[in-house]
Structure formats: structure tokens, C-alpha cells
């Protein structure tokens, strides 16, 4: 069990700056994100694209913004719990008890939800039957590639994950790569390698096809794929792998008894508290009249939510407003020498 002043859900830009704001007022935070990296949408959806509307930074990429935010919170030695999704939230006395999908438990008087549009999760096959095989023969990521040795594998997708794994797994297994159109969006180099492997008879490529059906008892035996004109092909396979990118799913957040307005959490703009005391929402996930889904707005929201957390985290102290330029307390927290 981990106790802390504030549990932050999400590690997008809004969350990272909120950690900074918590840090300078002397509150300790723990951060959980379902992605395997920090940065939220900036890092996952547009790492190389330029952002032009961060104040005082004429231009920077999603990647650089994330890196700089991380640098700014270095002094606080914040723990990040990545590849972990917050599932459950219950009140215990005056505190919240939070449980993740890996059964990690946090206890904190405050929670800041900076969950964006939800947690990033793999997009799945559009067939209901696929779910039933997720335990042993339908996969959306690969943990141990040995599991696939000497098997028949069907890989779906047109991006680099699909191509990388087709190249890798074709070394020891029979791979069929299926994609909805003849063009692949992976890097030209990957596309070239895959095309060469096809020519050498090491990989089969089936385009333009999409999954149509899955059959088998405990394990997949046969699938069919279909093109736009309804032409169907049958493929014997042991496993199918889908690489369709990630999607944001509100998921568990919807079940915590918070007011919701079309996937967004209404907040009070004085401190960004939700309808539950000690639960705050900031960034893309919160809504209020005039809300703009901008990183800039998320930063402001985090600053106010951090002050909102102070009351419950330090019930016997009074919050004092101070500037980072001149406050000795803040300099100490930042590990800066007094001048």
C-alpha cells in the first residue's frame, strides 16, 4: 500500500504540470498511467508534430514538451506507475483508496484525474468472438515471442508494429500479413523488407482484406478474411495478432459515481473539484462553461487543483500564496541554493 498526498491519474502534459504545482506547494504525488510512457496524447499521438501555442515557447514538438515537463519536476522525485490502469476507487474514512489493474493500492486524501479522453488501450478486432480467444490465441501485443515459435500466425495491420512483428516472427514461424489496403503506412524500409520476404516466400501478404470470422473451440483453428467486394478467403492459423493502434477509453472512470457530461467530468472552476470532495479533474477530461481543450488551459487547471488539494492534505495548515522567484520554501523544495 502506498500513501501519498495526491494520486494523479494520467501522465499527460496536464498531469505533469500539476505534479510541479503540487511539488512547489509541498505536496507529494504518485502518478499512474496505462501507457508505458509519460506524455499522454502529445507523446502517443503526435510526438514529432510542432505545437505553436505553449506560452513563451514559440514552437516545440510533443516529445520535447514532455521532456521539458519531466525536467521541470525532477526535483520532486515523483514515482510513476506506468503500464498500469486505475480501476477502482472507494472512500475509506476521510481518504480515497485506489486500486490498479495490477492490484497496487494507493491511499490518498486527494485524487487528480488528468485522464484525457480516457486511458490508451489497443483497438480490437471488430468481431465479438475474438474476445473469447483473447486468453490464448488473439493478441494485441507480444510479451514473449517464443510463444509464437513454429506456429501459424496471422498478423493484421498496416503500420510499423504489424510490419516489425511480421519480419521478426517470420524467422521461426509461418506468417500471413493481412491489411485492408495494398499500401502499408509503415516506414519505407520496413515495407521494403516485408515485400522482399514475400518474394522470397517467407511471408504471405493478403490485401485488401479484413477479418470476417474466427472459428475454433478453445483455440483458434481457422479464420476467414473478406475484401470490399465480398470475396472470402479461408486461412488455417494458430494465432491472430491485431495491430490497429491505440484508442482512448474512458473505461473505469465512468463507474466512480462522478457526474458525467458526454464522457467529460463537470468541475467547479474555483478549484477543479468534481461532485466528490477530494476528487479533482483537469485537462481534456474536465468540462465547464467555456472549456478549451488546450494544453495551456490544462496547466492553469492544474495550478488551481493543486491548491485545492492542500486543504485535505494538510488540514491543520493554512495555504500561503508564494512566488517561485522569491519564496525560500519553494527554493528548498526545488533544491535551489539561496542567493
Amino acid at each position: 500500500m502506498i500513501t501519498t498526498d495526491v494520486l494523479v491519474i494520467g501522465a499527460g502534459p496536464t498531469a505533469l504540470f500539476a505534479v510541479q504545482q503540487l511539488g512547489i506547494i509541498g505536496l507529494k504525488a504518485e502518478v499512474v498511467d496505462n501507457l508505458d510512457k509519460v506524455g499522454g496524447q502529445c507523446r502517443e499521438l503526435y510526438p514529432d508534430k510542432p505545437i505553436y501555442d505553449i506560452p513563451a515557447i514559440p514552437v516545440c514538438t510533443g516529445e520535447t514538451l514532455t521532456k521539458n515537463l519531466m525536467k521541470q519536476i525532477e526535483p520532486f522525485n515523483t514515482n510513476f506507475h506506468l503500464s498500469e490502469r486505475v480501476e477502482q476507487l472507494v472512500k475509506e474514512g476521510t481518504k480515497w483508496k485506489i486500486t490498479t489493474n495490477k492490484k497496487k493500492i494507493f491511499v490518498a486524501p486527494n485524487i487528480i484525474i488528468a485522464g484525457g479522453v480516457g486511458s490508451f488501450e489497443p483497438r480490437k478486432f471488430p468481431l465479438k468472438e475474438a474476445e473469447k480467444f483473447e486468453k490464448n490465441s488473439v493478441f494485441y501485443s507480444i510479451r514473449d515471442k517464443k510463444y509464437f515459435d513454429k506456429k501459424k500466425i496471422c498478423i493484421f495491420g498496416g503500420g510499423d508494429s504489424a510490419l516489425d512483428w511480421s519480419i521478426e516472427l517470420s524467422k521461426n514461424s509461418k506468417v500471413v500479413l493481412v491489411h485492408r489496403r495494398p499500401e502499408f503506412r509503415g516506414t519505407p524500409k520496413n515495407v521494403e523488407i516485408v515485400k522482399k520476404l514475400e518474394k522470397d516466400g517467407k511471408i504471405e501478404i493478403e490485401t485488401p482484406y479484413q477479418i470476417n470470422s474466427i472459428e475454433g473451440d478453445n483455440q483458434i483453428k481457422v479464420i476467414t478474411i473478406k475484401d470490399d467486394n465480398g470475396k472470402i478467403k479461408k486461412i488455417d492459423t494458430d494465432y491472430i495478432l491485431g495491430f490497429f493502434g491505440l484508442i482512448m477509453k474512458l473505461g473505469p472512470i465512468a463507474e466512480w459515481g462522478l457526474n458525467l457530461d458526454k464522457k467529460h467530468i463537470p468541475v467547479n472552476t474555483e478549484n477543479f473539484q468534481t461532485n466528490k470532495e477530494g476528487i479533482f479533474a483537469i485537462g481534456d477530461i474536465c468540462t465547464y462553461p467555456g472549456k478549451l481543450k488546450l494544453i495551456l488551459s490544462g496547466f492553469h487547471e492544474g495550478a488551481l487543483a493543486a491548491r485545492g488539494c492542500f486543504k485535505l492534505a494538510r488540514p491543520n495548515e493554512k495555504y500561503r500564496f508564494e512566488f517561485t522567484t522569491t519564496s525560500k520554501n519553494i527554493h528548498e523544495r526545488l533544491g535551489k541554493k539561496q542567493t
Partner: protein, 106 residues
């Protein structure tokens, strides 16, 4: 201004007048038409605004750029009439447009 027909996968029709220079996606969202999620708010990063454009209309629309086709790879059950509605800008020429929503967006 264009009159646009949005048809849910259950065949329920919504006919609305959509002003010029907003997108077909925004037209749906502003009129509370279900079936278009638009999680990324139109930045072509989510593919949850996917629609099937009526056959008669498909070739009349401006061609999709490469980024849109890449994003459609991630859409739920795309076909050759698939478009991302956040990339379709409304103008008088779109008067009468018909789009159908998939059974879900993810």
C-alpha cells in the same frame, strides 16, 4: 449551408442543416446526433468520427489525403466508402449529402 442526412446503423435518420465551413463531424456533434464520437476533436488522431459516404456522393467529395487513409486503417470496419467526417468541410456543394455511421466507433 447544406442539408445533410446522417443515418445511424439502426437506420434511424437525422436530417439537419449544417452551416458552411464547419465539418460534417461538427454538424453531427452540434446536433447531438449519436454514432460519431470524435474523441480527438477533429485533429485526425482518433478515427472515431468514421462514416460511410453514400455511393452517389463518394466521388463528389474532395479526395482524402494520405493521413486520412492511414487513420482509416484504425477505424472500426472501414470499407471503400469510408471517410473521416472531421475531414469533410461543409459547403453549398454538399447539400443533400448522405452519410451512414458504423455500428460503433471502436
Amino acid at each position: 449551408m447544406a442539408k445533410i442526412t446522417y443515418i445511424e446503423h439502426t437506420n434511424k435518420e437525422h436530417i439537419v442543416e449544417v452551416p458552411n465551413n464547419i465539418t460534417v463531424m461538427e454538424g453531427a456533434v452540434q446536433n447531438n446526433i449519436p454514432g460519431i464520437d470524435a474523441d480527438c476533436g477533429g485533429s485526425m488522431a482518433c478515427a472515431t468520427c468514421h462514416v460511410y459516404v453514400d455511393k452517389k456522393w463518394f466521388n463528389k467529395l474532395e479526395k482524402k489525403d494520405e493521413g486520412e487513409e492511414d487513420m482509416l486503417d484504425m477505424a472500426y470496419q472501414p470499407n471503400k466508402f469510408s471517410r473521416l467526417s472531421c475531414q469533410l468541410l461543409v459547403s453549398n456543394e454538399l447539400d443533400g449529402l448522405i452519410v451512414r455511421m458504423p455500428s460503433k466507433q471502436s
